[in-house]
Each structure stands twice: as C-alpha cells, then as structure tokens.
Amino acid sequence: MTAATAMRSATTLEVRGVTVRFGGVIAVDDVSLSARTGEVLGVMGPNGAGKTTLFNVISGVQQPTAGTVSLGDTALTGRAVEAVASMGVTRTFQTPLMFWGLTVRESIEVAVTARDFGGTYPPAPHRELIACGLGSAGRRRVESALRERADAVLARAGIAATADRLTESLAFGEERLLELARALAVQPTVLLLDEPLSGLNPDEIEAVIASIRAARADGVAVVLVEHAVGELLAIADRVVVLDHGRKIAEGPPQAVAADPIVIDAYIGDELE
C-alpha cells in the first residue's frame, strides 16, 4: 500500500453516538458516521431528519447532548466554532450567507487569512505594519500572492468576473458559487456542504459538482447533504440515510438507493 492510498483511506472525521435533544424533541438520535480523506460522504434524508443539526454539531455551533466528534486523534466536541474551524473543518449553509460590504475577492482573502493566521489577530507585523499603498516589498509580495490565490479560486469556481463586485450585488447562484469557493479557498480537511445545489441552474449545478469532485481529488473529506437525490447518488462514494434523527441505512449509493427501508422513508417517489 502506498502512502497516498494509506492517506486516502484514513478516517478523518469520526462522529460517534451523537444525540441532540431540544427539550423533548430528539433531533439527532445516536448517529455514528465517518468520513475519509478523498471521499464524498452523502447524507440524505427527508426534511427534519436531523441533517443540518448534525452539521451544527460537527462544526461546533451546537454541542451534542451525548456522543463525540473527532478529527483524526483530536476531539472536536466541546471546542468553540472558531477552534473547530481553525482545525480544518469548513462548512456552507442552506442559505448562502455573505459578508456584505466586502467585495467578492475580499471575501475569499478574509477567509484565507483567517485560516492562515489561525485566528490570531493582529497577525504577523510584517503583513500589517505598513498597510497602505506605500507598503514594503514584503507586504506587497504577501498581498499579490494572496490576490493571485483568491483570483485562482474564483476562476476555478467560474465567478472570476465578479471579483471586484460587492457581495450584496450577487445573484443567488453566484452567492452559492462564492460560498463554496470561499469554503474551498481555506483548503479544509473536512468540508460540510449543506444543500449546495438547491436553487441553481443546470450550468451552476455542473460547476458545483466539478468543484466537489476537485476537492475530493485534493484529499478533502466532503460530507454532502443534498435534496437532489439523483445528483447526490451520482457524486457520493458512500451514503448515509437519516430519518427522524436516526441512521436507517449506510453503504454504496446503488445499494442504499435499492434499500426498501430507504425507499419507504422517502415514500418511493424521490429515488427514480
């Protein structure tokens, strides 16, 4: 076994026995799953199945009532959102959320620098000290490297033309593409995507799917929640199905799609 395949098969994200209770409601019920580097793990399930709550637990937004989340050998449970983020877990949201007032390029740059600085502000003095146009050669080098990196990310996402626009002027599809580009720009270890295809036109869907495949090729562990079941089954390497907070099936996409329990949960009509 080569080092590359060893890395590829390594388990990165491990969710063990996670339960989330809101008062009397059990949103997530004893769910375990794992995502490996260079793999797309599809998570499907009807509305209210607990998919988004599960993402909130993994990213540290929501502390679980029981269970643990770990990244490699490191426990994520109990850590603040910023700490989980700086360990390489990045996510997107059902509704794309933008940094209004920043340009598209700045949105990428701010994400990249936040990751590079590991949340330590103010960062290394040489990057900030002479901040205006009179900047030192070192400062200019850092600036242009960052700009090139941001522009490359935007080009890959197919939204290079929007680089200098303010984020509040973007159309919905462009917001989605920017949100995904922003998440990929920080070179995450684990990428949690919450319905990245919803509301997109066919060209944009193709662009997002290409980005997800590229992330997988780069060794990212992608966890994908998606209502478009056909697309999900086509991209995912493995699929986990949630229903009413419980895991009801897990396995290769085709096997899961044929599973009577899963078809029953979806009332059959979404799995064609």
């Binding site: 910023e82 990045t90 209004w100 007032g101 701010v110 936040a114 990751r115 949340g119 502000y121 901040a131």
Partner: protein
Amino acid sequence: MIESLWQYVLAGVVVGAIYALIAAGFVLIYQVTGLINFAQGEFAMIGAMTAASLATAGMPAPAAAGIAVVVAAATGALCYLLAIRPARAATGVTLIFITLGLDVALRGLGLFVWGTNPLSLNAFTGGAAIHVFSGVLPPQAMWVLLTDLLVFAALYVFFRHTYAGTAVRAAVANPPIASTFGIPLRTFAFWSFVVAAAIGGLGGVVIAPITSATYDMGLTFGLAGFVAAVLGGLESLPGALLGGFVLGIVTKVAGGVLSTGWEEGVGFLILVIVLVLRPQGLLGRAARRA
C-alpha cells in the same frame, strides 16, 4: 451678528471634533459587539483627568498625554473583561444597563480619585490665537483637529487596508459565518473596547486645555457622542465624524444665538428631527436584513 455667528461655528467645529471621537468609540463597539456602551464619555474624562493631574504634578505634557491614553485604554479593557464578558450570555438590554452602571461607577471613581475641583491642562503649544476670517481659535484647536484627522485616517487605513481590518468588517457583516472561518469574535470585542476607550481618552486629553477637566465631564461628552453617533447612523465611522461636527456646530450656534442653556436641548431636537426624516441616520444604510 454675522461675525459672532461665525465665531460660534468655529467653537462648534472644535467641540464637534471631540464629539466625533467619542462617537467613533460608540460606533466601533456597536459594530463589533452590537452594544451601545454608555460609559463611552467616561473614557474621555479619565484621559483628561489623568493627563491634567500628571501634568499638574510636574510631568512633561507629552508623557502625561501618552500615559493618560494608556490609562483610558486599560480602563476600557477592564470594563470589557470584568463587566461585559462575564455577562455575554445576557440579553442586549441587560448589557446596555451594565454599561449605564459602568458609566456611573467610573464617574464615581473619578470623583473619588480627583475630587470635584476642575483641573487644568496647559495647551500643548503656546502662541497667538489663530484667526480664521473674522473668528479666532485657540492654538489648541489645531491639536484637536489634527487628532481627529489622524484618528480617522488610522481607522480608515485599518479597516480598508489591513487583513485584520477586513476580518473585522467580515465579523461585523456576519458573525456566525466569520466564526466558521476561525475569525475570533471575542478577541475583536475586547479590542473594540480598548480602541474605543483609547480614542475617547485621547479626545479628553486634547480638549482638556480648552474646557478644563472635571470628574463629571464624561456625562456631557458621552451624551453628545451618543447623539453624534446616532446622527451619523451608528454603523458608520464617516457618519460619526459628520454627526460630531453637525452636532457641535448646531449646538454652539444655538447656544450663542439663544442661550447656552439651550445647547443640549437643541442637540436632542436635531436628533429627533433626523431620526424622523431619516431613521438610518445621515450616512447609515437603510436596514437590510435577510
């Protein structure tokens, strides 16, 4: 009549510059934490009283001024760490009441340390009064305006040309998303108090030679700074600058033409008029929330 009116305008520009600095503190803290910090005026008092007492004790003016700003900044840091941060789970209204309590506490501390007698601070530079057309300004007015220029230029450079400043703007725009990228919101909240307090303290130091320093000066400056910040839109630093000058000029002219007792009343009247006609403030953006 015109001559004296012009003189009131000049006086308004000078106090307006200080209102703008206090307003900038309100805006910084409001933007980063969502809080209205009603203790903001006390940072100016602490700056002014510290500088005046140190200078009276014989310390050279620049050193006294520098120490005063550091003392004000440290006060801001302590306010955040001891009063705001432990209560961060509380609702906004509770936190605003905490800042009102801080305001009273700091004024009490000022009374305890420095007593009721006004302290004076010499102007930074001597020289003759400066004539501007038919009006005159004390030489210290140049230091006041220079301070405004430097502070607002520094804030502009920070927010527009540094990575940390861009990160603060991102955190202000969308705190939950910013934190999912590792942007440390609490660190920024801490620094917003430190910087707002330092700016307020600096304002107190530069105005003290003109107004003298008293333990209760923070009340007036705090209220004026708050009105100026709201005039400007509460979310906008250029708005704070504009709001400060508008408020300073309007109140001084009204005070001169009517009577000095009318200054504050007219200030609040302007606030009400602006909020009725333009609820988002002079330079604020209309509310846009998804």
